[in-house]
Every structure is written in structure tokens, then in C-alpha cells.
Subunit: 257 residues, 2 copies
DNA sequence: CCAAAAGTGTTCTACCTACACCCATGG
DNA sequence: CCATGGGTGTAGGTAGAACACTTTTGG
């Protein structure tokens, strides 16, 4: 599609969306020992943004978030949670993005839609970055992972706040929810898992005690040893056992401090 | 205001609200040893609802929730938190409320506004019920407290889900946040506080251990004994110490199971 | 002086932390 | 055979659960 066709397409679609309400997704992945967040860079502008979109009038809000993420990743994300709505009046005045809307001959209907005051629902999604190659949307030229502590500047509007909120959220919740398993490959070593917890919590964990605590939860399958290339004892591989997890969930999970 | 004036007033106001988005408040109070929720009964209909409203186009979402609550209670609620958005397409088909909109000669603008698909942001508010007398809104004839486990039937739409969600939320959060102090009078006995925790958690707590745990948090001021009428040792009165709480918050609160 | 409720102390247990020890592997 | 990293064991400390004991008050 050329830009003109895109605009026509958008003009057609714009009326099928709920006005004044958007969705932004904090998609987090674990890569190279650190937490990363997926961000987009706009065409012809040094502004970055979270993947976002709008809600169709006949579409569940949850599905809208899935659709937004699918169009950037090509995969359906199992771990998807509402974070919170960002609803101050001036939130789009902060780090304002001068979008193509402002200076290109878009139809008035589109300009009106975008210039309304917007409340945005922030979603958190967790994923293993190796499972797909991110693709930019029509307005972006780059779509890539950045370490969560080193996001590019400026992020439009209050998107940096959303990322901060997401980081706070997973830091609290990883103690009670098995988030780790959404971020790792199906099979992983105890070292991988501990590295992830350390990355999320921001501090080191005792190797021996971590292992014991995790194993006591009884939500892992232990598989045969991998034959590693290292000159040392090869570690076990583990995978997440969903049925066991659902059983033990009732008793309540312990937690990792 | 007579009904006709109300309608005219509403017609004027309707355009100042964000369409397609509403706010519903789960206002909880602690009364007679049990948690209660504030609900409204519509005029000429056996339907109940949470206090709700809409967001003005130039109003922060948070303030809209405060405004809704203020108009029912006459007080500003210090404890107010977003719960989550309820955003399925069919949420207003469940326990549908046949409102006056449906059968009275309202202006078309109002009917259109109400008949749109709505996403609702649910808020949680905690309050001591003794601090005000609830007042119904223009469409309601009753506004009163009901025990949270015995809400009247039917609640419109998904309002029962909102209450359930709120109950789950406070059950988890009371372990980490000092919610109790929003629900009690300024001065209270340890018995009062424990009764509240038992009401929220749904099970009894050991008297001696509860006292020690709470006191160890060092967020209470102990005052002189009240002279009770009982034939027994008079209990201390306590009050919540906000400054101490903010200090100890950094270390992280312990929790009450 | 007694009953009732409030406040405090004691014991037992479970778990968490820190660290030591042993094991497997490849060079 | 040894350096490296993985797996497990152990001692000490801390905190929670259960329950006993003491204190205060009005009748």
C-alpha cells in the first residue's frame, strides 16, 4: 500500500473505532540477561512510542490489545494483563508528538479523531523475544527491543510512565505469579530462570536457595540433562507444568524475595 | 428540579461528556462488623446499580470518580483506586437495565449517547460509613449500604462482577496496604481493627498475634485508655500515624495472613 | 472475689539465609 | 586431574501459630 492508499484506508476505518480511547501495550521480553521493551520509531520524526491502537466499536477491549500486539509480532501473546488507564486531560501535551496528522492533508474526519482528548488503557504483555521478528506499523520505520532501563528519548506522551508502571508491576507480581515462564523458551535451565528473576528484581539471588524455593513450588518438570559444551557438570532442563501450577495455585504460591 | 428540567439539564450536559466511557465506583464501608457496599435502586424499576457517571471532556478521569462519589456522599474520599476497565462488547446485555431512556421521550441526543457501546472504568473507594448520609441521584429512589455478600438482585450489567473484583482486590491488598485506616473512625481499638481484618479476609485471626504484628509495624499511635462500660479491662485507643507509615513503607510492610 | 476482656509472654515449628560440600564434565 | 559450574546438605537465625499467663475493670 502506498501512503495515499493508507490514508484512504484509515479514513474508512476510523469510524469503526471508539473515539477518545486508545490502547498502549508495554510488551516486555527477556533477552541477553536483561528485560527489554518493544518500541517503535515514527517515520520522519525522532519520537518513539509503545505499540498502540484503538478499540473497534464491536470488539472486546482485551481483543483489541491482542490485535495490536499481533500486528507487531505475528503471534498471540498468552500473558496479557490490564495495567491501568492513563486518564489525565493533559497526558498528550507531555512529550507531544507532532504526527503526520498535524501537517499532512489528512481528511478532516481523521484529524478530528486524533485531536480529541484521549484516555489510554495500558496493557502489559510478556513474551519470549525469540519467537518472532517485530514489524513496524504504517507510521513507523523502526520496531525493536530496547533494554527497559535505556529506552530511547523522547517517548511520546506518557509512554515512559507506562513502562515505569509496568516495571513496578512485574517486580511485585513475579513473587506471586509464574511470569517467568512466559518470558523463557519452553525448556530452560535453573540458571536461565534465576537470571530472569534477578533481571526483574534488580538484585542477585542466592543460587542454592532459589533452586530449592522454586522446586518446592512443584510447578516444574525436570527433563534429562542437556549436554552442554561447558567444562563442568551439565545442568538439568526444566519446563513449566501448567496443570501442577493450577493445582498449587489454590494453596497459594510462596514467593521469591 | 422537576423531571422535565432534569432532562433539559441532562441534554445540555451530555455533550460535555466523553461518549462510550463510564465510571462505576465500588464504595466499600465497614459497618456492624461486616463490609458493606453502597448501591442505588432506580426509580420505577427493581434494578440496582453502583454509583456511576461519566467523564467530562476536560476532566481528569480520577477527578470524575471523585465527583461521582462526592455527589452521593458529600465527602471527598481519600482512598480511591482504579480497579480495572470492564470492556467486553456485551457487558450491558447482561442484567440489562431498561432505563427511562428506553421508554420516555428523551431527546434523541441523549438516547444516542446512552445506547452506544460503553467501556466502564471501575474504581474502588474505602470510607467510614459514619461520616456521611448517602443521597440518591436523580434517577434513583434509594441509596444505601448492603453487606457485600448480600447485595440486592439484580445489579445491572456487570456491576456484580465489579463488586466481586473489588472484594478480591482488598483481600489481597489489605496485607500490604493499610486500608484499614480508611474504613475506621480516627480512633479505634485493636478489636475494631482486627474485626475489620477478619471481615475482609473472611476468617478469624489470633487476637494476640494480630496485636503483636500490627504493633511491630510501628504505624500506630497509642492513646490513653477509653473508659469503657464493660466489666473488664478497658482497651487502648489507637490512631493511624501517617508519617510513621510513610517511613516504614520504604522498608516494606509485613503482612497479615 | 469473680467473670470477662485486654495485654503480654512462651514454646514449638517452619522457613529463610548463608555457606559448605560433593558431583559431573571437558580440556 | 583439575577448574568450573551444577546440585544438595547443614547450622543458625527469624518469624509466625498456638496457647498460657497476667492485668484491669465493673458488678
Amino acid at each position: 500500500m502506498n501512503p495515499k492508499q493508507q490514508v484512504e484506508q484509515l479514513a474508512k476505518e476510523i469510524n469503526s473505532y471508539i473515539p477518545g480511547m486508545s490502547i498502549d501495550c508495554v510488551l516486555l521480553g527477556y533477552k541477553e540477561g536483561r528485560m527489554h521493551v518493544l518500541v517503535l520509531k515514527f517515520k520522519n520524526a525522532d519520537h518513539w512510542a509503545l505499540p498502540g491502537g484503538f478499540i473497534k466499536k464491536d470488539e472486546d477491549m482485551e481483543l483489541a490489545a491482542q490485535r495490536v500486539l499481533f500486528s507487531r509480532t505475528g503471534v498471540t501473546i498468552p500473558f496479557l494483563k490490564q495495567l491501568r488507564a492513563f486518564g489525565t486531560v493533559n497526558r498528550r501535551q507531555i512529550n507531544k508528538f507532532y504526527s503526520p496528522i498535524d501537517y499532512l492533508p489528512f481528511p478532516q474526519a481523521i484529524k478530528d479523531f486524533f485531536n480529541e482528548r484521549f484516555i489510554s488503557m495500558a496493557y502489559l504483555a510478556l513474551v519470549n523475544p525469540e519467537t518472532f521478528v517485530p514489524v513496524p506499523d504504517d507510521f513507523s520505520e523502526v520496531c525493536e527491543w530496547h533494554p527497559i532501563g535505556e529506552v530511547p528519548y523522547p517517548l511520546i506522551y506518557d509512554h515512559a510512565d507506562m513502562i515505569d508502571y509496568a516495571q513496578q508491576y512485574i517486580r511485585q507480581q513475579i513473587k506471586y505469579q509464574p511470569m517467568g515462564f512466559s518470558l523463557l523458551p519452553e525448556r530452560f535451565t535453573m540458571n536461565d530462570l534465576r537470571g530472569l528473576y534477578e533481571a526483574v528484581l534488580g538484585h542477585e539471588l542466592d543460587r542454592a536457595n532459589f533452586q530449592k524455593k522454586i522446586l518446592k513450588l512443584e510447578i516444574l518438570n525436570r527433563h534429562e540433562k542437556q549436554m552442554s559444551g561447558g567444562a563442568h557438570k551439565a545442568p538439568y532442563l526444566y519446563s513449566f507444568n501448567v496443570e501442577q501450577y493450577n493445582k498449587t495455585l489454590e494453596k497459594g504460591l510462596g514467593f521469591i524475595s
